[in-house]
């Protein structure tokens, strides 16, 4: 390639990729039918790609786990509609066809709310060949208004919030290109979704954000990528959670259990066709016989969505107004049970959930995220960690505060460091709660003691067993000397590694793994199981390798290597 530098030639593939990724804002000022169809197709694909996450977020009004599927199928029915795909029509004609298709194909609450969006777009298209991008914000405002009318008790913290906020923010802006408009809509949607738990308690309880709202953000994201020709158009995007938390992939487990207990009935959806339908009258009727009714219409058409104990009742009522079609009935009890059972599987893989009111709680001191996770994970959902360790001892006040915060009247304290034991023993007198100290001198002993923690037993029984176990754990530590030091007759130079066992120096060397091996060799004679916690300097892959090497070298022993992420010590070892 003439005129191309050596560097560029060598990196041609990389440059092509990068070039493709640079957003080329569309210079189209107006959205014609072809572009509108492309955008809706992109939105549909994007929803499909994010369907599982949207499903997993779904808790309101019924935790049936199908918002993602519903939204995806609703858009799919638009994209696959024959009318919609008929050639040569204006953007306005296309938009009206889309509105009708979305209404007929609307699934679930979210599908019906989506249909309001297409109704809004059809309205702002207003008979024109093309739609001005800035009209999209207005369309969202219309969608908000239509949603208010379709649902008797419109609730903030759901899709309608996203409609409203995006529309309000759009009206304050001056973008003109489709790209700018869509990008702003996407970003505003994500921002609004992040705040939905503030508006709707059930979302905060379940520790999720609104699923339908997230679906809208996903749709906008797909549209943005379509406009900029970014491949792939459909991609999974991260769920915007409040205060930087991450969506665990599932819903809080208490919520799962509660969801199973409520009697949900049948989700009954159907369309009524007749001239001069009185939507309000139909809606009031459905409100009297069922729950959460949504009734929406286009000329000659009403789409009803209602939750019924007896679905037949809704159909018998509906038939009084016109002829019925597109009837769908699903058993929400089964859905909720299926959903709950799927979520249970997810919960297995997420971090341990906390119990609401355990009879006994444990407060343990630990340094390092891995150690904290390990302690909570081993702690039966009744264990709380305070940050602390060798160089940072929590004060009596801090220990007391942690004890007071636990949801139990009986608390076991694990100081996990010899310098914290005395402070821990002060706490019982300062609180009305009953606090007992198991005088653990290291965090690895604390974990071993925690394994004896049993909520079926009394406080005394627990403390006795935990003290027994703590007394049997040999404590090993491996770390680097930060300066020259002389201990117990050993001269250790700065930068060398040394190992201690129960506070006595056992081995010194240059290589940390070598020193660890020497420690294990020295102390494994009567041992059954050795647990090695790797510090925050170690990488995940090295844990697997270390585990294999140690298991091979010490084939008589059971050795478990776990990530502790503790500061200061390369390895903490528990010998039992």
């Amino acid at each position: 390639m003439a005129g191309v530098s050596e560097y560029q030639r060598a990196n041609f593939a990389r440059f092509s990729r990068i070039k493709g990724m640079i957003a080329k804002p569309s210079t189209t000022a107006l959205i014609d039918a072809a572009l509108l169809l492309r955008l809706v197709q992109a939105a549909s694909d994007a929803l499909f790609a994010n369907r599982p996450t949207i499903n997993a977020l779904n808790v309101f009004p019924v935790p049936d786990g199908d918002t993602g599927t519903n939204m995806s199928l609703t858009l799919r029915s638009i994209v696959e509609s024959e009318d919609v795909n008929a050639s040569t029509q204006s953007a306005s004609e296309l938009a009206s066809k889309m509105a009708r298709a979305s209404l007929l194909g609307a699934r679930g609450n979210s599908g019906l709310l989506l249909a309001q969006l297409f109704k809004g777009i059809a309205q702002v298209a207003d008979g024109n060949d093309s739609i001005a991008p800035s009209a999209l914000g207005v369309a969202l405002g219309r969608a908000y208004e239509f949603s208010q009318q379709s649902v008797p008790n419109p609730v903030e913290g759901t899709m309608i919030t996203i409609y409203r906020e995006c529309s309000e923010k759009a009206s304050e802006r001056e973008e003109s290109s489709a790209f700018e408009v869509l990008e702003a809509l996407r970003d505003d949607a994500l921002d609004a979704v992040r705040r939905t738990p503030e508006m709707l308690d059930v979302l905060a309880e379940a520790e999720v954000v609104d699923s339908g709202g997230f679906g809208l953000a996903v749709m906008f994201d797909g549209m943005v990528r379509a406009i900029t020709n970014t491949e792939p158009v459909a991609r999974e995007i991260e769920v915007p959670m409040p205060s930087g938390r991450k969506f665990s992939g599932t819903v809080k487990s208490d919520f799962v259990a509660e969801a199973e207990e409520v009697d949900w009935g049948y989700c009954t959806v159907f369309a009524i066709e007749a001239e001069n339908l009185d939507l309000d009258r139909i809606r009031d009727h459905m409100d009297r016989i069922g729950r959460s009714p949504i009734v929406d219409g286009a000329p000659g058409l009403a789409k009803v969505h209602v939750h019924m104990e007896d679905p037949g009742e809704a159909l018998s009522a509906g038939i009084k107004y016109g002829s019925l079609s597109n009837i769908e009935i699903s058993n929400m009890d089964t859905q909720a049970a299926d959903w709950a059972s799927d979520r249970r599987e997810d919960i297995e893989h997420a971090t341990t959930e906390k119990l609401d009111s355990p009879s006994i709680a444990v407060v343990a001191v630990a340094a390092g995220q891995g150690m904290a996770d390990l302690i909570e994970n081993t702690g039966l959902g009744a264990t709380y960690v305070i940050e602390g360790g060798d160089s940072m001892n929590p004060s009596v006040a801090e220990l007391l505060e942690a004890v007071e915060k636990t949801p139990s009247d009986q608390v076991i304290l694990l100081p996990n460091n010899k310098n914290i034991i005395a402070a821990a023993e002060q706490v019982d007198e300062l609180t009305d709660k009953t606090v007992r100290v198991v005088p653990t001198r290291s965090v690895q002993t604390g974990v071993a003691a925690l394994l004896a923690f049993n909520l079926n037993e009394s406080l005394d029984e627990n403390v006795e067993e935990m003290i027994d176990i703590a007394g049997e754990v040999g404590e090993g530590r491996v770390c680097k000397a930060s300066r020259d030091v002389s201990i117990g007759g050993h001269e250790i130079k700065a930068g060398m590694t040394f190992a201690t066992f129960d506070d006595e120096i056992i081995a010194v060397g240059r290589d940390t793994e070598f020193v660890l091996g020497k420690l294990i060799t020295a102390k494994s004679i009567d041992a059954e199981i050795i647990t090695v916690y790797t510090g925050n300097g170690s990488k995940a892959e090295s844990i697997q390798r270390l585990s294999e090497e140690l298991t091979e070298k010490f084939s008589d022993l059971e050795i478990e290597v776990v990530w502790g992420g503790q500061p200061h010590y390369d390895y903490l070892v528990a010998v039992e």
Partner: protein
């Protein structure tokens, strides 16, 4: 008065013990994919446990149909005055319901049939049936037998140390043992069955400690009328425990028995456990 004792295959009674006490064992059905087998007759537990880790879905079991109970009860009624039918917890299987329905089908025949839901499973159920058979052989009436069965069922207990909680989670039976799931450490959960679901008993740091815990439980539960050590896939490990706790068993001979599919499928391979009956 001759009384026949009937139980079902979830009792995990070794065939020679069932035969010795004249106990009729009705098999449950085991469903693997589209095939159906009779538990302990057309499929063995060993075969089940070989398939288990590879199956996409946990093979399920179903209760013997009412007709099967009617056949057995009818046959037994020819040379017995009464029948007592002792079964697995109705929360775990419809076997008890099936038996009860069979009794109502036969109400016009005048045969005296009693059905007992032990709320137990495996050898906790098995030993209950054996205990009742022994008391009947010593002269208990049918009314006595029912009371004996109900009381024995409360003194019986089933405990298992599982290798992994995966099968319980997959099969949706994790119950109150949920707090044990997803451990970052390789610990061995020890569970019991209460009211038809898994209840945590404790956790062992490793298998060796778990075995020690099981052995301690035998000591704590004694004196015992009956003791069996249970396994799903490792008979030698079970035998080692049996040898260790032999002196707690009557005649110093604990019975080693294999856990059948109804409970075993939900616990998985590598399980070691206890089925015992405390003395009165």
């Amino acid at each position: 008065m001759t009384i026949a004792v009937v139980t079902d295959s979830t009792s995990d009674l070794p065939p020679e013990i069932a035969k010795q006490h004249g106990i009729e064992v009705i098999p449950l059905n085991v469903h693997i994919g589209d095939d159906t087998f009779l538990d302990g007759q057309t499929i063995t537990s060993d075969q089940m446990y070989r398939i288990l880790p590879e199956s996409k879905e946990i093979p399920t079991t179903s209760a013997p149909p009412v007709g099967k109970f009617v056949d057995v009860f009818t046959r037994l009624s020819k040379d017995h005055d009464a029948i007592i039918s002792i079964h697995i917890s109705s929360k775990l299987s419809l076997t008890y319901i099936s038996a009860v329905n069979a009794v109502s089908e036969m109400v016009d025949t005048g045969v005296d049939i009693r059905v007992v839901d032990t709320e137990q499973a495996s050898m906790a159920l098995g030993w209950t049936a054996v205990h009742v058979a022994e008391k009947i052989a010593a002269g208990a009436s049918i009314d006595d037998a029912v009371e004996i069965a109900q009381k024995a069922a409360t003194r019986a207990s089933f405990v298992g140390m599982v290798d992994t909680l995966d099968y319980l989670v997959r099969g949706g039976r994790i119950g109150k043992a949920r707090g044990f799931v997803g451990s970052l450490l390789r610990i061995k959960p020890i569970l019991t069955l209460e009211e038809g679901e898994a209840h945590p008993v404790g956790r062992a740091r490793n298998r060796k400690k778990g075995v020690a815990m099981l052995e301690q439980m035998v000591a704590d539960a004694s004196p015992l009328d009956k003791l069996s050590i249970l396994y799903t896939t490792e008979p030698e490990a079970a035998q080692a425990i049996a040898d260790e706790v032999a002196n707690y068993a009557p005649d110093n001979k604990p019975v080693v028995a294999q856990l059948g599919p109804v409970v075993g499928n939900y616990l998985g391979p590598g399980v070691l456990g206890l089925g015992l009956l405390r003395a009165e």
